[in-house]
Symmetry: C2
Subunit: 364 residues, 2 copies
C-alpha cells in the first residue's frame, strides 16, 4: 500500500502521457483534475494487485471519446459519483476499488480523481499498458471478462447502463452514445473481481508511469537529456528526430484520425518520417519503411524538454523525438494481435515486434 | 376489470391500426404476438385507470424504430422479461401493470403480449390516443412525466437502461441505440404511478380501439360499408377516395419517411390527394389545399374491405379511403401543438382543428 500525493501524481501524469502513445487525453487537464481532487480529499491509497481480496469488486473508470473534444468539454465532477452509484446499485454490491483501463494523460488521472473523491483505493494496474482507441482493446477482453455492465454519463447529467452480449457491442453502443452526448463522456467499464485483476490486468502500470515521469522531471531540473535513461527503463528505441512539416487531422465517428509528416534533424537530417494515428499513434514509417506499429508503443516527446506530446499537440514546426517501446507480452499472442494489431486498423502489414524490426530482420 | 381474450384482441388490433394513422407497426405481426401470448398464458386482465391504486408502478411497453424493419426483425420473446426485470431492479419496486404508449398495430399489441407473458394487468389507456413517431410525443411529456428510467433491448440480448435530463435526450439516446441495434427494439418507458396514469394518460384507448375494430369486423361479415358508422363513433370526416399513383419512401435516421400520391375515384374523380408521412401520416392535401394535419388523425383504409392500411402497405394501384379524425383535446393546447403540431415536423403551416377546416374556415 502506497499513498499517492501531489508529487507522485505529477510524475504519473508525465509518465502515463508517454505510455499513452499520443492518446489518452490531455495530460495537463487530467493532472489538474487529479491534483484538485487530492488537494480536496487527501492522498490516494494505491494497492498492488497482490494486496487485494479475490472477491473485491473493482470498477475501472475512464473518459471515452475524442480527446480533442474533452479539452473544451470539461467533466463537471458529479459524473464519478453518479457512475459509481449506478453500477453499485445495478450489481447490488459495494465497489471496493477503482483502476485505470489504460495509461494516458486523462485516463490515468481520472481514476485517481475518482479514488480521491470517492474515498476508494486505486489498483496499480491497467488493461492496456499503454492507450488504445477502442474499449475492447484491453487484456480483460483477451481473458473473456465482459465490458458490461458499463455506465456512460455526460457532464449534463444523462446516463446509460449498458448490458451487452459482447465487448464489441459495448463499444458500438457506448460509441454512439458518446457521439450523441457530445463527443466525450465518463464511463465505468469492465467491473471485475480482485481475482480477475490479478490474472488479467497489466500490473504496476501506475508505478511504472511514476518512474518514467520522475526521469523526465529530473531532466527538466538538471538540464540533462533523459532519452537514454528512458530507453534503458522501457527497453525502447529511438526511431527518429525531426521537425513536423505537416499535420492532417479529421474528427470522424468519435475519433481523432490523422497523420504527421516530419523531416529529420541532427543525425536524421535528410530522412523523413510519417506517423499515423487514431487517437493514439498507430504506425511509424521512416522513408517509407515501417519502423514500428501497434501494439508496440510509438511515443513522441519534445526534442528539447522530453515532455510527451499527444496527437492533439502535434503541429507545424514542432521538433520531436519519436521513441518505439515494446508492448506488454499479452498483446503479442494471436488474440492480442487480432484485437490491436495493424490489420485491425486496416493496415495491410503483419505485426513484427519492434525488437525484431530493430535487428534489421524486417526493414519494410 | 375486463378479461381480454382472442376475439377482443383481434378487434383491438384492427381498431388500433386505424388509430395508428399509418404507423405503429404491422397489425398482423402485432396481433400474432399478442394472440400467441394469450393462447399460451390465458386472457389478459384490463383495468380502467379509475380502478388502480395511486401508488401502483405502471410501466408502459413498446416497440421503437422503423416499422418496416420490425417486419423482418421479429422480437424473440425474451425481451419483455429482460426489460421488466431491469426496470424493476433499477427502481427497486415491483411493476404493477403495463400500458401502451400509443395506439397502433404493434404498440397496442406488444403490451398485451407483455401482460399475458408477465401475468400483469394492462391499463385501458395510452399516451397518444393515436400513434406518433417520437417518444416525447406523449401526454405524459406534456404533464412533466419523465421518459426515463427507460430500458431499451434488442432480440440479440443487448440492453440499455437510460436515465436522462429530458425526454428529448431520452429520444435522442434511445434513437441512436435503436439504429445501432439494427433499427427496431423493445422498450420500457415512462414508468409512472397509478395517480399519474389517472391524470395524464388518455383513458379507454383499448376499449375505443376494440369498438372501432368490432365495426370493421362486422362489416367484413355483413358486407355493409362501415365508414359512416366509423365516422359517427370517432366524430371524423371522409377526406378522399382514391387510387394510389405513386409512393416515395426513404428510411432515414431510424424512421420511414415518404409520400403517397392518389388520384380520385367515385365522387372524388378528377381530384388529387397527397399524403406525407414519418412512420405516421402527418399531412393530407387535396388539390394542394391542406385537409388535415397532425395532431389530428389521418387514416387510410382499404376502399373495399375498410381494413386500415399502414404506411408500409401503401402501394401503387391500391384503392383507399382517407379519413380525418379529431385528436384528443390534450394535443390542442399550446404545449401539445408545440410538441406534435405541423411546425414540429417542419411544415410551414399552423395547426387548425379538423372540424374548423371542414367548416370551410380555412381552405389552404
Amino acid at each position: 500500500m502506497i499513498k499517492l500525493g501531489e508529487e507522485a501524481i505529477e510524475n504519473i501524469a508525465i509518465g502515463a502521457a508517454l505510455l499513452g502513445t499520443g492518446g489518452g487525453g490531455d495530460p495537463h487537464l487530467g493532472k489538474l483534475m487529479a491534483l484538485q481532487a487530492v488537494r480536496k480529499y487527501g492522498p490516494v491509497t494505491m494497492l498492488d494487485p497482490l494486496e487485494i481480496d479475490d472477491d473485491m469488486l473493482v470498477v475501472p473508470s475512464a473518459m471515452m471519446g475524442a480527446p480533442s473534444v474533452l479539452v473544451e468539454k470539461i467533466p463537471n465532477g458529479n459524473e464519478f459519483k453518479r457512475c459509481f452509484n449506478a453500477i453499485s446499485r445495478y450489481l447490488g454490491k459495494t465497489v471496493g476499488a477503482t483502476m485505470p483501463i489504460e495509461a494516458g494523460g486523462i485516463n490515468s488521472m481520472i481514476p485517481l480523481a475518482v479514488a480521491a473523491q470517492m474515498g476508494l483505493p486505486i489498483i496499480d494496474a491497467d488493461g492496456m499498458g499503454r492507450a488504445f482507441p477502442e474499449l475492447q482493446m484491453v487484456t480483460y477482453h483477451l481473458d473473456g471478462i465482459t465490458a458490461s455492465p458499463m455506465v456512460v454519463t455526460d457532464e449534463k447529467g444523462n446516463m446509460e447502463v449498458l448490458e451487452t452480449i459482447s465487448n464489441k457491442w459495448a463499444e458500438d453502443l457506448a460509441r454512439v452514445a458518446t457521439i450523441t452526448m457530445g463527443g466525450s463522456v465518463i464511463v465505468n467499464i469492465y467491473p471485475m473481481t480482485g481475482k480477475q485483476v490479478k490474472t488479467s490486468a497489466i500490473s504496476n502500470i501506475l508505478s511504472y508511469s511514476e518512474k518514467i515521469g520522475a526521469i523526465i522531471k529530473k531532466s527538466m531540473q538538471t538540464g540533462c537529456n533523459p532519452i537514454d535513461e528512458l530507453l534503458d527503463l522501457t527497453k525502447g528505441y529511438l526511431l527518429f528526430k525531426g521537425k513536423i512539416n505537416d499535420v492532417l487531422r479529421e474528427t470522424r465517428a468519435g475519433f481523432n484520425f490523422g497523420k504527421a509528416v516530419m523531416q529529420g534533424v541532427e543525425e536524421y537530417k535528410g530522412a523523413a518520417f510519417e506517423l499515423e494515428f487514431q487517437n493514439e499513434n498507430l504506425i511509424g514509417r521512416k522513408d517509407g519503411a515501417v519502423m514500428a506499429s501497434v501494439p508496440d508503443l510509438i511515443c513522441c516527446v519534445d526534442l528539447e524538454s522530453s515532455i510527451p506530446i499527444t496527437t492533439e499537440a502535434l503541429k507545424y514546426g514542432r521538433r520531436v523525438a519519436v521513441l518505439g517501446l515494446p508492448c506488454d507480452r499479452k498483446w503479442r499472442t494471436p488474440k492480442g494481435i487480432e484485437t490491436v494489431g495493424p490489420r485491425y486498423f486496416r493496415y495491410d502489414i503483419d505485426y513484427v515486434p519492434i525488437e525484431d524490426r530493430m535487428k534489421g530482420v524486417v526493414t519494410k
